[in-house]
Amino acid sequence: MIRLVRAEVRKVRSTRLWIGLGLGGLGLTGLATLLLLSLANTDQGRLSGLHPVATAEDLRRLVFDAAGVLAFVLVLATTMATSEFRYGTAVGTYLATPSRMRVITAKALSAAPIGFVYGAVAGLVVVLLAVGWLAVKGEPVPFGSPAMTGVAQVGLQGAYGAVLAVCFGALVRSQLVAILGLLGWLFLIEPLATAVQPALTRWTPFAGVNGAFNSTTDPGVVLLGHLGALALAAAYVALLWAAAVWAERRRDA
Protein backbone atom coordinates (compact mmCIF):
# COMPACT_ATOMS: atom_id res chain seq x y z
CA MET A 1 0.00 0.00 0.00
CA ILE A 2 2.89 2.38 0.77
CA ARG A 3 4.17 2.21 -2.82
CA LEU A 4 0.66 2.88 -4.14
CA VAL A 5 0.36 5.92 -1.88
CA ARG A 6 3.76 7.11 -3.10
CA ALA A 7 2.61 6.61 -6.69
CA GLU A 8 -0.49 8.72 -6.05
CA VAL A 9 1.57 11.49 -4.47
CA ARG A 10 3.94 11.34 -7.44
CA LYS A 11 0.98 11.67 -9.80
CA VAL A 12 0.01 14.91 -8.10
CA ARG A 13 3.56 16.24 -8.07
CA SER A 14 4.19 15.35 -11.72
CA THR A 15 1.76 17.97 -13.04
CA ARG A 16 1.53 21.66 -12.27
CA LEU A 17 -2.04 21.74 -11.02
CA TRP A 18 -1.02 21.46 -7.37
CA ILE A 19 1.19 24.54 -7.70
CA GLY A 20 -1.54 26.64 -9.31
CA LEU A 21 -4.17 25.60 -6.80
CA GLY A 22 -1.74 26.04 -3.92
CA LEU A 23 -0.84 29.57 -5.00
CA GLY A 24 -4.51 30.36 -5.56
CA GLY A 25 -5.42 29.08 -2.10
CA LEU A 26 -2.60 30.95 -0.41
CA GLY A 27 -3.43 34.13 -2.30
CA LEU A 28 -7.04 33.94 -1.19
CA THR A 29 -5.93 33.16 2.35
CA GLY A 30 -3.65 36.21 2.39
CA LEU A 31 -6.40 38.48 1.11
CA ALA A 32 -8.92 37.12 3.61
CA THR A 33 -6.47 37.53 6.48
CA LEU A 34 -5.66 41.13 5.65
CA LEU A 35 -9.34 41.90 5.11
CA LEU A 36 -10.37 40.41 8.46
CA LEU A 37 -7.52 42.13 10.30
CA SER A 38 -8.31 45.49 8.75
CA LEU A 39 -12.04 45.17 9.43
CA ALA A 40 -11.68 43.82 12.97
CA ASN A 41 -11.16 47.26 14.52
CA THR A 42 -13.92 48.97 12.60
CA ASP A 43 -17.56 49.46 13.56
CA GLN A 44 -18.61 47.49 10.51
CA GLY A 45 -16.35 44.61 11.54
CA ARG A 46 -17.64 44.62 15.08
CA LEU A 47 -21.21 44.54 13.77
CA SER A 48 -20.23 41.50 11.70
CA GLY A 49 -18.96 39.74 14.80
CA LEU A 50 -15.24 40.23 14.10
CA HIS A 51 -12.91 40.57 17.06
CA PRO A 52 -9.55 42.32 17.16
CA VAL A 53 -6.74 39.81 17.64
CA ALA A 54 -5.96 40.41 21.27
CA THR A 55 -5.55 36.90 22.62
CA ALA A 56 -4.07 33.62 21.44
CA GLU A 57 -7.60 32.26 21.15
CA ASP A 58 -8.48 35.21 18.84
CA LEU A 59 -5.51 34.28 16.67
CA ARG A 60 -6.63 30.64 16.55
CA ARG A 61 -10.09 31.74 15.46
CA LEU A 62 -8.61 34.04 12.81
CA VAL A 63 -6.55 31.14 11.46
CA PHE A 64 -9.65 28.99 11.13
CA ASP A 65 -11.74 31.75 9.55
CA ALA A 66 -9.16 33.14 7.14
CA ALA A 67 -7.48 29.99 5.83
CA GLY A 68 -9.49 29.88 2.60
CA VAL A 69 -7.88 26.87 1.06
CA LEU A 70 -10.61 24.24 1.46
CA ALA A 71 -12.21 24.84 -1.94
CA PHE A 72 -8.79 24.50 -3.61
CA VAL A 73 -8.12 21.28 -1.70
CA LEU A 74 -11.48 19.92 -2.84
CA VAL A 75 -10.67 20.69 -6.48
CA LEU A 76 -7.19 19.16 -6.29
CA ALA A 77 -8.36 16.01 -4.51
CA THR A 78 -11.29 15.56 -6.87
CA THR A 79 -8.96 15.68 -9.86
CA MET A 80 -6.75 13.02 -8.25
CA ALA A 81 -9.57 10.60 -9.04
CA THR A 82 -11.40 12.14 -11.97
CA SER A 83 -8.35 12.93 -14.12
CA GLU A 84 -7.72 9.17 -14.28
CA PHE A 85 -10.95 8.85 -16.23
CA ARG A 86 -10.67 12.14 -18.09
CA TYR A 87 -7.30 11.20 -19.57
CA GLY A 88 -7.74 7.42 -19.60
CA THR A 89 -4.88 6.82 -17.16
CA ALA A 90 -7.22 4.64 -15.08
CA VAL A 91 -6.43 1.87 -17.57
CA GLY A 92 -2.75 1.90 -16.61
CA THR A 93 -3.56 2.26 -12.92
CA TYR A 94 -5.88 -0.77 -12.96
CA LEU A 95 -3.48 -2.81 -15.08
CA ALA A 96 -0.85 -2.32 -12.39
CA THR A 97 -3.25 -2.70 -9.46
CA PRO A 98 -6.38 -4.62 -10.45
CA SER A 99 -7.92 -4.26 -6.96
CA ARG A 100 -10.23 -1.25 -7.13
CA MET A 101 -10.38 -1.16 -3.35
CA ARG A 102 -6.61 -0.84 -3.04
CA VAL A 103 -6.49 1.93 -5.65
CA ILE A 104 -9.23 4.00 -4.03
CA THR A 105 -7.79 3.42 -0.57
CA ALA A 106 -4.36 4.54 -1.80
CA LYS A 107 -5.89 7.66 -3.31
CA ALA A 108 -7.67 8.47 -0.04
CA LEU A 109 -4.53 7.84 2.02
CA SER A 110 -2.43 10.04 -0.25
CA ALA A 111 -5.04 12.81 -0.41
CA ALA A 112 -5.07 13.15 3.37
CA PRO A 113 -1.48 14.40 3.84
CA ILE A 114 -1.74 16.57 0.73
CA GLY A 115 -4.88 18.21 2.12
CA PHE A 116 -3.23 18.56 5.51
CA VAL A 117 -0.20 20.32 4.05
CA TYR A 118 -2.39 22.72 2.07
CA GLY A 119 -4.43 23.56 5.15
CA ALA A 120 -1.48 23.82 7.50
CA VAL A 121 0.53 26.03 5.15
CA ALA A 122 -2.49 28.30 4.73
CA GLY A 123 -2.83 28.41 8.52
CA LEU A 124 0.83 29.36 8.90
CA VAL A 125 0.40 32.11 6.32
CA VAL A 126 -2.46 33.54 8.40
CA VAL A 127 -0.32 33.42 11.56
CA LEU A 128 2.64 35.08 9.86
CA LEU A 129 0.50 37.82 8.33
CA ALA A 130 -1.30 38.44 11.61
CA VAL A 131 1.95 38.59 13.57
CA GLY A 132 3.42 40.98 11.02
CA TRP A 133 0.28 43.11 10.96
CA LEU A 134 0.19 43.42 14.76
CA ALA A 135 3.92 44.11 14.95
CA VAL A 136 3.64 46.90 12.40
CA LYS A 137 0.72 48.35 14.35
CA GLY A 138 2.76 48.18 17.53
CA GLU A 139 0.21 45.96 19.19
CA PRO A 140 1.14 42.98 21.38
CA VAL A 141 1.47 39.70 19.52
CA PRO A 142 -0.63 37.02 21.25
CA PHE A 143 1.35 34.15 19.80
CA GLY A 144 0.96 30.87 21.65
CA SER A 145 -0.05 27.24 21.40
CA PRO A 146 -3.69 28.03 20.44
CA ALA A 147 -2.40 29.55 17.19
CA MET A 148 -0.55 26.34 16.37
CA THR A 149 -3.67 24.40 17.34
CA GLY A 150 -5.52 26.48 14.77
CA VAL A 151 -2.91 25.63 12.15
CA ALA A 152 -3.31 21.93 12.94
CA GLN A 153 -7.10 22.25 12.84
CA VAL A 154 -7.03 23.85 9.42
CA GLY A 155 -4.66 21.10 8.31
CA LEU A 156 -7.03 18.43 9.58
CA GLN A 157 -9.93 20.15 7.86
CA GLY A 158 -7.92 20.06 4.62
CA ALA A 159 -7.11 16.38 5.11
CA TYR A 160 -10.77 15.54 5.72
CA GLY A 161 -11.94 17.57 2.71
CA ALA A 162 -9.32 15.94 0.49
CA VAL A 163 -10.31 12.40 1.46
CA LEU A 164 -13.98 13.21 1.00
CA ALA A 165 -13.32 14.79 -2.40
CA VAL A 166 -11.12 12.01 -3.78
CA CYS A 167 -13.73 9.39 -2.86
CA PHE A 168 -16.50 11.54 -4.35
CA GLY A 169 -14.43 11.97 -7.53
CA ALA A 170 -13.92 8.21 -7.82
CA LEU A 171 -17.64 7.68 -7.35
CA VAL A 172 -18.74 10.30 -9.90
CA ARG A 173 -15.82 9.96 -12.37
CA SER A 174 -16.83 13.08 -14.33
CA GLN A 175 -14.42 15.88 -13.41
CA LEU A 176 -16.85 18.69 -14.15
CA VAL A 177 -19.77 17.09 -12.32
CA ALA A 178 -17.65 16.18 -9.31
CA ILE A 179 -16.06 19.63 -8.91
CA LEU A 180 -19.28 21.53 -9.51
CA GLY A 181 -21.11 19.14 -7.21
CA LEU A 182 -18.68 19.57 -4.32
CA LEU A 183 -18.27 23.34 -4.65
CA GLY A 184 -22.02 23.71 -5.18
CA TRP A 185 -22.60 21.78 -1.98
CA LEU A 186 -19.98 23.76 -0.04
CA PHE A 187 -21.01 27.24 -1.16
CA LEU A 188 -24.67 26.89 -2.07
CA ILE A 189 -26.60 23.84 -0.98
CA GLU A 190 -25.25 23.42 2.54
CA PRO A 191 -25.44 27.13 3.47
CA LEU A 192 -28.97 27.40 2.07
CA ALA A 193 -30.16 24.23 3.76
CA THR A 194 -28.70 25.20 7.12
CA ALA A 195 -30.05 28.74 6.83
CA VAL A 196 -33.53 27.35 6.32
CA GLN A 197 -33.15 24.63 8.92
CA PRO A 198 -30.30 25.48 11.37
CA ALA A 199 -30.81 22.24 13.28
CA LEU A 200 -29.44 20.42 10.25
CA THR A 201 -26.08 22.14 10.57
CA ARG A 202 -24.62 19.70 13.06
CA TRP A 203 -25.12 16.82 10.61
CA THR A 204 -23.70 18.44 7.47
CA PRO A 205 -20.40 17.23 5.98
CA PHE A 206 -18.64 20.60 6.14
CA ALA A 207 -20.20 22.97 8.70
CA GLY A 208 -21.25 20.09 10.92
CA VAL A 209 -17.88 18.39 10.86
CA ASN A 210 -16.29 21.72 11.83
CA GLY A 211 -17.36 20.79 15.33
CA ALA A 212 -14.42 18.42 15.38
CA PHE A 213 -11.96 21.24 14.65
CA ASN A 214 -13.54 24.40 15.91
CA SER A 215 -16.76 25.80 17.31
CA THR A 216 -19.19 27.77 15.26
CA THR A 217 -19.35 31.55 15.57
CA ASP A 218 -23.10 31.40 15.18
CA PRO A 219 -24.64 31.31 18.69
CA GLY A 220 -27.84 29.85 17.27
CA VAL A 221 -26.08 26.70 16.11
CA VAL A 222 -25.02 23.88 18.40
CA LEU A 223 -22.57 21.51 16.78
CA LEU A 224 -21.76 18.00 17.88
CA GLY A 225 -18.87 17.77 20.33
CA HIS A 226 -15.35 16.99 19.18
CA LEU A 227 -15.81 13.23 19.34
CA GLY A 228 -19.28 13.32 17.84
CA ALA A 229 -18.13 15.50 14.96
CA LEU A 230 -15.11 13.26 14.42
CA ALA A 231 -17.42 10.25 14.24
CA LEU A 232 -19.59 12.15 11.77
CA ALA A 233 -16.52 12.93 9.63
CA ALA A 234 -15.46 9.29 9.74
CA ALA A 235 -18.97 8.20 8.75
CA TYR A 236 -19.00 10.52 5.71
CA VAL A 237 -15.57 9.30 4.61
CA ALA A 238 -16.49 5.64 5.13
CA LEU A 239 -19.76 6.05 3.24
CA LEU A 240 -18.17 7.73 0.22
CA TRP A 241 -15.20 5.34 0.22
CA ALA A 242 -17.50 2.30 0.29
CA ALA A 243 -19.74 3.75 -2.41
CA ALA A 244 -16.75 4.49 -4.65
CA VAL A 245 -15.28 0.99 -4.20
CA TRP A 246 -18.67 -0.64 -4.76
CA ALA A 247 -19.26 1.36 -7.94
CA GLU A 248 -15.75 0.88 -9.34
CA ARG A 249 -15.91 -2.89 -8.86
CA ARG A 250 -19.01 -2.99 -11.02
CA ARG A 251 -17.92 -0.61 -13.76
CA ASP A 252 -15.64 -1.03 -16.74
CA ALA A 253 -12.45 1.01 -16.60
Binding site: R3, L4, R6, A7, R10, K11, S14, T15, R16, L17, S83, Y87, G88, T89, A90, V91, G92, T93, Y94, L95, A96, T97, P98, S99, R250, R251, D252, A253
Partner: protein, 325 residues
Protein backbone atom coordinates in the same frame (compact mmCIF):
# COMPACT_ATOMS: atom_id res chain seq x y z
CA UNK B 1 -8.59 -27.79 -17.92
CA UNK B 2 -5.55 -30.03 -17.84
CA UNK B 3 -2.27 -28.77 -16.43
CA UNK B 4 -0.59 -29.42 -19.76
CA UNK B 5 -3.07 -27.25 -21.62
CA UNK B 6 -2.94 -24.53 -18.97
CA UNK B 7 0.84 -24.53 -19.21
CA UNK B 8 0.78 -24.27 -22.99
CA UNK B 9 -1.74 -21.41 -23.16
CA UNK B 10 -0.70 -18.02 -21.90
CA UNK B 11 -4.20 -16.67 -22.45
CA UNK B 12 -7.35 -18.74 -22.40
CA UNK B 13 -10.65 -17.23 -23.46
CA UNK B 14 -13.73 -19.38 -22.81
CA UNK B 15 -17.24 -18.51 -24.03
CA UNK B 16 -16.56 -14.87 -23.30
CA UNK B 17 -19.50 -12.55 -23.86
CA UNK B 18 -20.11 -8.86 -23.35
CA UNK B 19 -23.43 -7.17 -23.85
CA UNK B 20 -23.98 -3.41 -23.95
CA UNK B 21 -27.74 -3.13 -23.57
CA UNK B 22 -29.26 -5.04 -26.46
CA UNK B 23 -25.96 -5.24 -28.36
CA UNK B 24 -23.82 -8.36 -28.13
CA UNK B 25 -20.37 -6.82 -28.52
CA UNK B 26 -18.68 -10.17 -27.88
CA UNK B 27 -20.61 -13.41 -28.12
CA UNK B 28 -19.35 -16.69 -26.62
CA UNK B 29 -15.82 -16.20 -27.87
CA UNK B 30 -13.24 -18.91 -27.18
CA UNK B 31 -9.60 -19.10 -28.19
CA UNK B 32 -6.12 -19.68 -26.76
CA UNK B 33 -2.89 -17.76 -27.10
CA UNK B 34 -0.08 -20.31 -26.88
CA UNK B 35 3.21 -19.61 -25.14
CA UNK B 36 6.05 -19.04 -27.59
CA UNK B 37 3.86 -17.60 -30.32
CA UNK B 38 2.53 -14.38 -31.77
CA UNK B 39 -1.23 -14.52 -32.22
CA UNK B 40 -2.83 -11.92 -34.46
CA UNK B 41 -6.29 -10.74 -33.45
CA UNK B 42 -8.20 -9.48 -36.46
CA UNK B 43 -11.66 -8.21 -37.21
CA UNK B 44 -13.43 -5.30 -38.87
CA UNK B 45 -14.09 -2.10 -36.94
CA UNK B 46 -16.61 -2.77 -34.19
CA UNK B 47 -15.99 -6.53 -34.29
CA UNK B 48 -15.29 -6.55 -30.54
CA UNK B 49 -11.48 -6.80 -30.54
CA UNK B 50 -10.78 -4.04 -28.05
CA UNK B 51 -13.68 -5.12 -25.81
CA UNK B 52 -12.24 -8.65 -25.78
CA UNK B 53 -8.76 -7.41 -24.91
CA UNK B 54 -10.20 -5.24 -22.13
CA UNK B 55 -12.01 -8.25 -20.68
CA UNK B 56 -8.84 -10.35 -20.88
CA UNK B 57 -7.05 -7.62 -18.90
CA UNK B 58 -9.75 -7.25 -16.25
CA UNK B 59 -10.67 -3.75 -17.40
CA UNK B 60 -14.15 -4.70 -18.55
CA UNK B 61 -16.43 -7.12 -16.77
CA UNK B 62 -17.68 -10.02 -18.94
CA UNK B 63 -21.42 -10.58 -19.13
CA UNK B 64 -20.58 -14.28 -19.11
CA UNK B 65 -17.65 -16.60 -19.72
CA UNK B 66 -14.12 -16.04 -18.52
CA UNK B 67 -10.62 -15.12 -19.59
CA UNK B 68 -7.49 -16.35 -17.88
CA UNK B 69 -3.96 -15.07 -18.19
CA UNK B 70 -1.22 -17.47 -17.10
CA UNK B 71 -3.91 -19.62 -15.55
CA UNK B 72 -5.66 -16.93 -13.51
CA UNK B 73 -8.16 -14.15 -14.09
CA UNK B 74 -6.14 -10.95 -14.61
CA UNK B 75 -7.63 -9.35 -11.51
CA UNK B 76 -6.25 -12.23 -9.41
CA UNK B 77 -2.66 -11.93 -10.66
CA UNK B 78 0.02 -10.97 -8.16
CA UNK B 79 2.19 -8.09 -9.43
CA UNK B 80 0.57 -8.24 -12.88
CA UNK B 81 2.99 -5.81 -14.57
CA UNK B 82 5.76 -8.35 -14.01
CA UNK B 83 3.77 -11.00 -15.86
CA UNK B 84 1.65 -9.22 -18.45
CA UNK B 85 2.50 -6.12 -20.46
CA UNK B 86 -0.37 -4.37 -22.18
CA UNK B 87 -0.70 -1.43 -24.52
CA UNK B 88 -4.27 -0.62 -25.45
CA UNK B 89 -5.65 2.06 -27.72
CA UNK B 90 -7.60 3.25 -24.72
CA UNK B 91 -4.50 3.61 -22.56
CA UNK B 92 -4.19 7.27 -21.75
CA UNK B 93 -1.45 9.59 -20.65
CA UNK B 94 -1.82 12.70 -18.58
CA UNK B 95 -0.86 15.47 -21.02
CA UNK B 96 0.94 17.44 -18.33
CA UNK B 97 3.15 14.55 -17.27
CA UNK B 98 6.53 13.70 -18.77
CA UNK B 99 7.29 10.30 -20.26
CA UNK B 100 9.72 9.56 -17.44
CA UNK B 101 7.19 10.55 -14.77
CA UNK B 102 4.57 8.34 -16.41
CA UNK B 103 6.93 5.36 -16.35
CA UNK B 104 8.23 6.01 -12.84
CA UNK B 105 4.65 6.14 -11.56
CA UNK B 106 3.96 2.81 -13.29
CA UNK B 107 7.12 1.41 -11.64
CA UNK B 108 5.87 2.49 -8.22
CA UNK B 109 2.43 1.03 -8.87
CA UNK B 110 3.86 -2.21 -10.19
CA UNK B 111 6.51 -2.63 -7.49
CA UNK B 112 9.29 -2.37 -10.06
CA UNK B 113 12.78 -0.91 -9.85
CA UNK B 114 12.68 2.71 -11.02
CA UNK B 115 15.74 2.06 -13.19
CA UNK B 116 13.42 0.10 -15.50
CA UNK B 117 11.93 3.42 -16.64
CA UNK B 118 15.20 4.55 -18.19
CA UNK B 119 15.83 1.07 -19.60
CA UNK B 120 12.55 0.94 -21.55
CA UNK B 121 12.86 4.58 -22.63
CA UNK B 122 16.18 3.69 -24.17
CA UNK B 123 14.86 0.43 -25.65
CA UNK B 124 11.98 2.16 -27.43
CA UNK B 125 14.01 5.11 -28.68
CA UNK B 126 12.27 7.55 -26.35
CA UNK B 127 15.32 8.44 -24.28
CA UNK B 128 15.76 11.92 -25.69
CA UNK B 129 12.08 12.73 -25.09
CA UNK B 130 12.03 11.40 -21.52
CA UNK B 131 11.46 14.76 -19.88
CA UNK B 132 9.11 16.17 -22.49
CA UNK B 133 5.46 16.47 -21.53
CA UNK B 134 3.10 14.07 -23.29
CA UNK B 135 0.96 16.91 -24.68
CA UNK B 136 3.73 17.52 -27.21
CA UNK B 137 3.91 13.91 -28.37
CA UNK B 138 2.84 12.62 -31.78
CA UNK B 139 0.74 9.49 -32.13
CA UNK B 140 3.87 7.48 -32.88
CA UNK B 141 5.61 8.74 -29.74
CA UNK B 142 2.57 7.88 -27.65
CA UNK B 143 2.64 4.39 -29.17
CA UNK B 144 6.28 4.01 -28.20
CA UNK B 145 5.53 5.21 -24.68
CA UNK B 146 2.62 2.78 -24.38
CA UNK B 147 4.87 -0.02 -25.59
CA UNK B 148 7.60 1.07 -23.18
CA UNK B 149 5.05 0.89 -20.36
CA UNK B 150 4.08 -2.63 -21.44
CA UNK B 151 7.72 -3.72 -21.26
CA UNK B 152 8.43 -2.17 -17.84
CA UNK B 153 7.96 -5.35 -15.82
CA UNK B 154 9.78 -7.63 -18.27
CA UNK B 155 6.58 -9.64 -18.70
CA UNK B 156 6.12 -13.04 -20.32
CA UNK B 157 2.84 -12.10 -22.01
CA UNK B 158 2.19 -9.06 -24.19
CA UNK B 159 -1.29 -7.84 -25.13
CA UNK B 160 -1.10 -5.12 -27.74
CA UNK B 161 -3.90 -3.21 -29.43
CA UNK B 162 -2.86 -1.73 -32.79
CA UNK B 163 0.77 -1.28 -31.71
CA UNK B 164 2.02 -0.22 -35.15
CA UNK B 165 -0.50 2.63 -35.49
CA UNK B 166 1.42 5.82 -36.13
CA UNK B 167 4.88 4.24 -36.13
CA UNK B 168 7.28 5.14 -38.90
CA UNK B 169 8.60 2.34 -41.16
CA UNK B 170 11.72 1.90 -39.05
CA UNK B 171 9.57 1.67 -35.94
CA UNK B 172 7.29 -0.90 -37.55
CA UNK B 173 10.28 -3.00 -38.60
CA UNK B 174 11.78 -2.78 -35.11
CA UNK B 175 8.47 -3.75 -33.53
CA UNK B 176 8.12 -6.72 -35.88
CA UNK B 177 11.58 -7.98 -34.99
CA UNK B 178 11.07 -7.38 -31.29
CA UNK B 179 7.82 -9.31 -31.15
CA UNK B 180 9.31 -12.23 -33.08
CA UNK B 181 12.29 -12.40 -30.72
CA UNK B 182 9.98 -12.04 -27.72
CA UNK B 183 7.91 -15.05 -28.82
CA UNK B 184 10.98 -17.09 -29.75
CA UNK B 185 12.29 -16.39 -26.25
CA UNK B 186 9.26 -18.14 -24.76
CA UNK B 187 6.90 -15.18 -24.52
CA UNK B 188 3.35 -15.01 -25.78
CA UNK B 189 1.95 -12.11 -27.79
CA UNK B 190 -1.67 -11.28 -28.58
CA UNK B 191 -1.70 -8.42 -31.04
CA UNK B 192 -4.73 -6.82 -32.62
CA UNK B 193 -4.06 -4.93 -35.78
CA UNK B 194 -5.58 -3.48 -38.91
CA UNK B 195 -2.24 -3.86 -40.64
CA UNK B 196 -2.86 -7.24 -42.22
CA UNK B 197 0.52 -7.33 -43.93
CA UNK B 198 2.20 -6.79 -40.57
CA UNK B 199 0.17 -9.52 -38.92
CA UNK B 200 0.96 -11.88 -41.80
CA UNK B 201 4.66 -11.24 -41.27
CA UNK B 202 4.84 -11.61 -37.50
CA UNK B 203 1.97 -13.85 -36.42
CA UNK B 204 2.08 -17.63 -36.13
CA UNK B 205 -1.63 -17.85 -35.50
CA UNK B 206 -4.58 -15.65 -36.31
CA UNK B 207 -7.86 -15.30 -34.48
CA UNK B 208 -10.47 -13.57 -36.64
CA UNK B 209 -13.71 -12.28 -35.15
CA UNK B 210 -16.67 -10.57 -36.77
CA UNK B 211 -19.65 -9.06 -34.92
CA UNK B 212 -18.26 -10.46 -31.68
CA UNK B 213 -18.11 -14.07 -32.80
CA UNK B 214 -15.17 -16.24 -33.78
CA UNK B 215 -14.87 -16.86 -37.52
CA UNK B 216 -11.36 -18.32 -37.68
CA UNK B 217 -8.67 -19.54 -35.29
CA UNK B 218 -5.78 -21.11 -37.14
CA UNK B 219 -2.19 -20.74 -38.22
CA UNK B 220 -1.47 -18.00 -40.76
CA UNK B 221 -0.17 -20.59 -43.22
CA UNK B 222 -3.32 -22.68 -43.10
CA UNK B 223 -5.59 -19.66 -43.24
CA UNK B 224 -3.80 -18.20 -46.24
CA UNK B 225 -3.39 -21.63 -47.83
CA UNK B 226 -7.13 -22.22 -47.68
CA UNK B 227 -7.48 -19.51 -50.31
CA UNK B 228 -5.44 -21.72 -52.67
CA UNK B 229 -3.19 -20.77 -55.53
CA UNK B 230 -4.27 -18.83 -58.61
CA UNK B 231 -2.43 -18.82 -61.95
CA UNK B 232 -2.55 -15.39 -63.55
CA UNK B 233 -2.32 -15.54 -67.35
CA UNK B 234 -2.71 -12.92 -70.07
CA UNK B 235 -2.77 -13.27 -73.86
CA UNK B 236 -3.64 -10.98 -76.77
CA UNK B 237 -6.36 -13.55 -77.58
CA UNK B 238 -8.08 -13.88 -74.20
CA UNK B 239 -11.22 -15.55 -75.57
CA UNK B 240 -9.30 -18.50 -77.08
CA UNK B 241 -7.16 -18.78 -74.00
CA UNK B 242 -10.23 -18.86 -71.73
CA UNK B 243 -11.86 -21.51 -73.88
CA UNK B 244 -8.74 -23.68 -73.97
CA UNK B 245 -8.16 -23.45 -70.22
CA UNK B 246 -11.79 -24.29 -69.43
CA UNK B 247 -11.67 -27.25 -71.81
CA UNK B 248 -8.59 -28.49 -69.91
CA UNK B 249 -10.57 -28.40 -66.63
CA UNK B 250 -9.53 -25.03 -65.25
CA UNK B 251 -11.91 -22.63 -63.52
CA UNK B 252 -11.41 -19.16 -64.96
CA UNK B 253 -12.06 -16.01 -62.98
CA UNK B 254 -12.05 -12.54 -64.48
CA UNK B 255 -9.69 -10.02 -62.93
CA UNK B 256 -9.97 -6.24 -62.80
CA UNK B 257 -6.62 -5.88 -64.60
CA UNK B 258 -7.93 -7.82 -67.63
CA UNK B 259 -5.84 -10.96 -67.03
CA UNK B 260 -7.42 -14.33 -66.33
CA UNK B 261 -7.19 -16.01 -62.93
CA UNK B 262 -7.07 -19.79 -63.29
CA UNK B 263 -7.87 -22.20 -60.48
CA UNK B 264 -7.51 -25.98 -60.38
CA UNK B 265 -4.72 -26.08 -62.99
CA UNK B 266 -1.01 -25.83 -62.26
CA UNK B 267 1.07 -23.08 -63.82
CA UNK B 268 2.87 -25.70 -65.92
CA UNK B 269 -0.42 -27.11 -67.24
CA UNK B 270 -1.71 -23.63 -68.16
CA UNK B 271 1.53 -23.02 -70.10
CA UNK B 272 1.17 -26.36 -71.91
CA UNK B 273 -2.47 -25.65 -72.84
CA UNK B 274 -1.55 -22.24 -74.24
CA UNK B 275 1.41 -23.72 -76.15
CA UNK B 276 -0.72 -26.45 -77.65
CA UNK B 277 -3.07 -23.78 -79.03
CA UNK B 278 -0.18 -21.66 -80.34
CA UNK B 279 -1.22 -18.76 -78.12
CA UNK B 280 1.18 -15.96 -77.36
CA UNK B 281 1.34 -15.17 -73.63
CA UNK B 282 2.20 -11.76 -72.21
CA UNK B 283 1.98 -12.84 -68.58
CA UNK B 284 2.10 -16.13 -66.74
CA UNK B 285 2.64 -16.22 -63.00
CA UNK B 286 1.57 -17.89 -59.79
CA UNK B 287 -0.36 -15.87 -57.18
CA UNK B 288 -0.97 -17.10 -53.66
CA UNK B 289 -3.79 -15.79 -51.49
CA UNK B 290 -2.87 -13.14 -48.93
CA UNK B 291 -4.06 -12.73 -45.39
CA UNK B 292 -6.13 -9.85 -46.70
CA UNK B 293 -7.91 -12.23 -49.10
CA UNK B 294 -8.57 -14.62 -46.22
CA UNK B 295 -9.80 -11.74 -44.04
CA UNK B 296 -12.16 -10.56 -46.78
CA UNK B 297 -13.46 -14.06 -47.37
CA UNK B 298 -14.02 -14.66 -43.64
CA UNK B 299 -15.59 -11.35 -42.70
CA UNK B 300 -17.04 -10.23 -45.99
CA UNK B 301 -15.75 -6.74 -45.37
CA UNK B 302 -12.81 -4.76 -46.69
CA UNK B 303 -10.00 -3.85 -44.31
CA UNK B 304 -11.06 -0.88 -42.16
CA UNK B 305 -10.24 2.66 -43.28
CA UNK B 306 -6.73 3.58 -42.28
CA UNK B 307 -5.60 0.01 -42.61
CA UNK B 308 -2.70 -0.62 -44.89
CA UNK B 309 -3.16 -3.11 -47.65
CA UNK B 310 -0.24 -5.41 -48.45
CA UNK B 311 2.46 -3.61 -50.38
CA UNK B 312 1.34 -0.12 -49.50
CA UNK B 313 3.78 2.03 -47.53
CA UNK B 314 3.21 2.24 -43.79
CA UNK B 315 1.68 5.39 -42.37
CA UNK B 316 4.20 8.11 -41.63
CA UNK B 317 3.99 9.52 -38.17
CA UNK B 318 3.20 13.21 -37.86
CA UNK B 319 5.33 15.79 -36.11
CA UNK B 320 8.01 15.15 -33.48
CA UNK B 321 8.45 11.53 -34.40
CA UNK B 322 12.11 11.44 -35.12
CA UNK B 323 13.36 8.73 -32.82
CA UNK B 324 13.85 5.35 -34.33
CA UNK B 325 13.85 2.43 -31.99
Amino acid sequence: MSDARAAAAAIEVRRLSKRFGAVNAVDRLSFDVPIGSVTGFLGPNGAGKTTTLRMVLGLAIPSSGEARVLGEPYRALERPLSRVGAALETTGFHPGRSARAHLEIACLEGGLDRARADAVLSLTGMGEFADMRVRGFSLGMKQRLAFATALLGEPTVLVLDEPANGLDPAGVAWLRGFLRRFAEGGGAVLVSSHLLSEVAEIADRVVVIDRGTLVADDTVDRLVGAGGETVVVRSPDQDRLRSAVETAGGVVLGRPDGALGVKQLSIERVGEVAGAQGLVLHELRRETASLEDAFLALTGTPPPPGGVVPGAPPIRPDVHDEASP
